[in-house]
C-alpha cells in the first residue's frame, strides 16, 4: 500500500477535509442556490400565472364587450323595429281613419245626392202629372175629375191600386228579401202600402226600394229569384212583341 501512496493519516485528513468541504458547500452553495432557484421558479410561475390571469381578464373583457355590443345592437334593432311598427300602425290608423272619414263623407254626399235627386224627381212627378192631365184634357176634350186623374196617374207610376200592388194580384212569391223598383220615388204612404202587400204575399222579411226611370212606370218586384215585371216599359215591350 505504501507503494501506491496510501497512508492512513493522509486518508483520514482527506476524509475530514471532504466533510469540511461538504459542510461549506451544503451551507453556502447548495442552500442559497437552491433557495434562489426555488425563488426564481416561483417568480417565473408567478409571472406565468399573472400572464394567464391577465389573458383571462382580457378574454373576459372582450367577451363582455362583445356581449354589450350584441345587446346594444339588439336594442337598437328592437328600437328600430318598434319605431317602424309604430309608424306603420300609426300610418295604417291614419289611413283607415282617413278612409273611414272619406267613406262617411262619401256616404253622406251620396245620401245627400240621393235625397236631392229623389226630391227633384218627386217635384218633377207633380209637374209631370199636371202636364199629363192638362195634355189629356186637351186630347180627350173632357175634363176629368181631377181627383180621379191623380189617382190614375198615381196608379200608373206606383203600380198600386186600391191599396194593393197590381203586379202581385195573382202571383205566388216566396223569398227572404224583396226588391221593389219604381220609375219615380214612391211616397211614404205608397211605400208602406207596397211593403205591407209584398210582405203579406211573399213572406219576405225586408223590402228595399230602388228608383229606375228607364222602366217608365209601374213596379218591378224581385223576390228571391223571381221577378214580377209590372212596369210600363215591360208592358210596352210585350205590346210591341204582340204587334209584330
Amino acid at each position: 500500500m505504501e507503494a501506491l501512496g496510501l497512508n492512513l493519516p493522509f486518508l483520514l485528513v482527506q476524509i475530514v477535509n471532504l466533510l469540511i468541504v461538504y459542510t461549506v458547500v451544503a451551507k453556502w452553495v447548495v442552500g442559497p442556490v437552491g433557495k434562489m432557484l426555488e425563488q426564481r421558479r416561483e417568480t417565473i410561475a408567478q409571472g406565468m400565472e399573472d400572464a394567464r390571469v391577465a389573458g383571462e381578464a382580457r378574454a373576459n373583457a372582450e367577451e363582455e364587450a362583445a356581449k354589450i355590443k350584441a345587446e346594444a345592437q339588439a336594442e337598437a334593432s328592437q328600437i328600430v323595429s318598434d319605431a317602424t311598427e309604430r309608424a306603420r300602425s300609426a300610418g295604417a290608423e291614419v289611413k283607415s281613419a282617413a278612409e273611414a272619414e272619406a267613406a262617411t263623407a262619401k256616404d253622406k254626399a251620396l245620401a245627400g245626392i240621393e235625397a236631392e235627386r229623389n226630391q227633384m224627381l218627386g217635384d218633377l212627378r207633380g209637374q209631370v202629372a199636371a202636364l199629363a192631365i192638362a195634355g189629356a184634357q186637351k186630347l180627350v176634350g173632357e175634363a176629368l175629375d181631377e181627383k180621379k186623374q191623380h189617382a190614375l196617374l198615381n196608379d200608373f207610376f206606383a203600380g198600386v191600386k186600391d191599396g194593393s200592388v197590381i203586379v202581385l194580384a195573382d202571383a205566388d212569391l216566396s223569398g227572404d228579401s224583396a226588391e221593389v223598383t219604381s220609375a219615380l220615388p214612391l211616397t211614404d204612404a205608397e211605400q208602406v202600402t207596397v211593403k205591407k202587400d209584398v210582405l203579406a204575399k211573399s213572406g219576405a222579411e225586408a223590402v228595399s226600394f230602388l228608383v229606375d226611370p228607364s222602366i217608365l212606370g209601374g213596379l218591378v218586384i224581385k223576390v228571391g229569384d223571381k221577378v214580377m215585371d209590372g212596369s210600363v216599359a215591360g208592358k210596352l215591350e210585350g205590346l210591341r212583341a204582340n204587334m209584330r
Binding site: 493519516p9 468541504v21 461549506v24 458547500v25
Partner: protein, 355 residues
C-alpha cells in the same frame, strides 16, 4: 459588435501562430536558427512526492506532500466559489454573473438531474452530488494551470539530468535541470505548454543527476484523495438507504425473505444479497481507481506528449484533459447520486419479480 468579432478572431489567430513559431524556435533546430532545446521526460511517481522530511504535526508517516498542497489549493478554490456564490445570492440578484453564475448554471443542471432520478430524496442527496462535483472539478482543473507539476524542489542524487544555475532572487537560488545527454542542448524542465519554467532550488550540490519534486500536484492524482471520496460516498449511500428504509435496508444484503417458502429462488436471492455486499466494496475500488486512473493517466499523457512534441500538440491534449476533468467530476457525483437514489428504493418489487 459585428465589427468587434472578426477583429477578435484575427487577433486570436495571430497569437496562436506566434505561439507555434515561438515553440518551433525554442524546441527545434529548424532553419538553423532555433535553440533546439531537447525536451525531457520527467519521472513519474505514483504516490505524492514528499516535500520535506519532517513529519507534519508530528504524526508518524505523515509528510508534507505535493498532493497535500494540491488538496489545499482545491479547498481554497471551492471556498472561493462558495464565497462568491453566497455573496452573489445574498445580494438578492435573480441570476449570478461571472464564475458564480457558471457554478449556478452547473448546479441547476445537476439539481434537475437529481430531481429526475431521486425524486423526494433530492434534498438529502443533492448536497453530496454538488460537493463531490465541485471539489473534484476544482482539483482536476487546478492541475492544468501552467507551473503545476513543473515548479518545485531540485532533488539531487536522484535522476538523470544536470543542474544549472539561472540566478538568484532574495538569496534563493534559481536553478533548472538540463538534458546534457545531447551535444549542446539547453534543456529546461519539460514544459507542456511551451513556456520556459524555472525551478527553485535550495540545495546546490553538484551530483551526477537531479530531478524536480513539484510543489503542486493535483490532488486527484493521489489515491488517498480518491479513496477518501469513494469511502465517504459509499458510506453515505448506506446512510441514505437507512434513512429511507430503516432496518429493512439490511435485507438487501441479508435476504432470507423467501429462504424457506421458496427454497430455490430464496437461496438465489440470498446469494444475490451477498453479492450486493461484495458489490458495495467493489464500488469503493472502482470509484477510487476510476478518478485516479483517469487523472493520473491524463497527467502522464501530457508529460509524454510534451516530451515528444513540445509545442502545439500538447494544447490539444490540454483540451482533452479539460474535458476529461469535467466529465470525471460529474460522473463521480452522478454515480454517487444514482447509487443513493437506488438505495432509497425498496427492494420489494425486485423480490416479486423473482418469485
Amino acid at each position: 459588435m459585428s465589427e468587434q468579432k472578426p477583429k477578435n478572431k484575427v487577433w486570436a489567430r495571430w497569437v496562436v501562430l506566434g505561439a507555434i513559431l515561438l515553440g518551433a524556435f525554442l524546441f527545434t533546430g529548424f532553419f538553423g536558427i532555433g535553440l533546439n532545446i531537447k525536451p525531457i521526460m520527467p519521472e513519474v511517481f505514483l504516490p505524492g512526492e514528499v516535500l520535506s522530511d519532517k513529519p507534519l504535526f508530528g504524526i508518524e508517516g505523515f509528510f508534507m506532500t505535493n498532493t497535500f498542497v494540491g488538496m489545499i489549493g482545491a479547498d481554497i478554490a471551492v471556498f472561493l466559489i462558495a464565497l462568491g456564490v453566497y455573496r452573489g445570492v445574498k445580494s438578492g440578484k435573480m441570476a449570478l454573473s461571472g464564475v458564480s453564475g457558471a457554478v449556478e448554471a452547473l448546479l441547476e443542471a445537476l439539481q434537475n438531474m437529481t430531481e429526475g432520478t431521486a425524486g423526494k430524496w433530492t434534498k438529502v442527496i443533492f448536497p453530496w452530488f454538488a460537493t463531490i462535483t465541485l471539489l473534484v472539478l476544482s482539483a482536476n482543473w487546478l492541475g492544468l494551470l501552467p507551473g503545476v507539476e513543473t515548479i518545485g524542489l531540485i532533488h539531487e542524487g536522484h535522476g538523470e539530468y544536470a543542474v544549472r544555475d539561472l540566478g538568484s532572487i532574495g538569496g534563493m537560488k534559481i536553478q533548472t535541470i538540463w538534458d546534457e545527454s545531447g551535444e549542446e542542448a539547453h534543456m529546461e524542465e519539460a514544459s507542456t505548454d511551451a513556456h520556459a519554467e524555472e525551478t527553485h532550488a535550495e540545495e546546490d550540490a553538484h551530483h551526477a543527476g537531479a530531478s524536480v519534486v513539484p510543489f503542486f500536484r493535483p490532488v486527484s492524482t493521489d489515491l488517498n484523495f480518491t479513496f477518501a471520496l469513494a469511502l465517504v460516498a459509499v458510506v453515505m449511500v448506506q446512510v441514505v438507504g437507512f434513512r429511507a428504509l430503516g432496518w429493512s435496508y439490511l435485507t438487501k444484503f441479508w435476504n432470507t425473505k423467501h429462504f424457506f417458502d421458496k427454497p430455490i429462488f430464496g437461496f438465489i436471492d440470498f446469494g444475490v444479497g451477498l453479492l450486493e455486499l461484495v458489490s458495495e466494496l467493489s464500488k469503493v475500488l472502482s470509484f477510487a481507481f476510476r478518478l485516479f486512473g483517469n487523472l493520473f493517466a491524463g497527467a502522464v499523457l501530457i508529460f509524454v506528449m510534451g516530451s515528444l512534441v513540445p509545442f502545439f500538440v500538447p494544447a490539444m491534449f490540454y483540451m482533452l484533459e479539460l474535458f476529461v476533468g469535467m466529465i470525471q467530476a460529474i460522473v463521480f457525483g452522478m454515480l454517487t447520486m444514482t447509487f443513493m437514489a437506488q438505495a432509497t428504493q425498496s427492494h420489494g418489487d425486485h423480490d416479486e419479480a423473482h418469485a
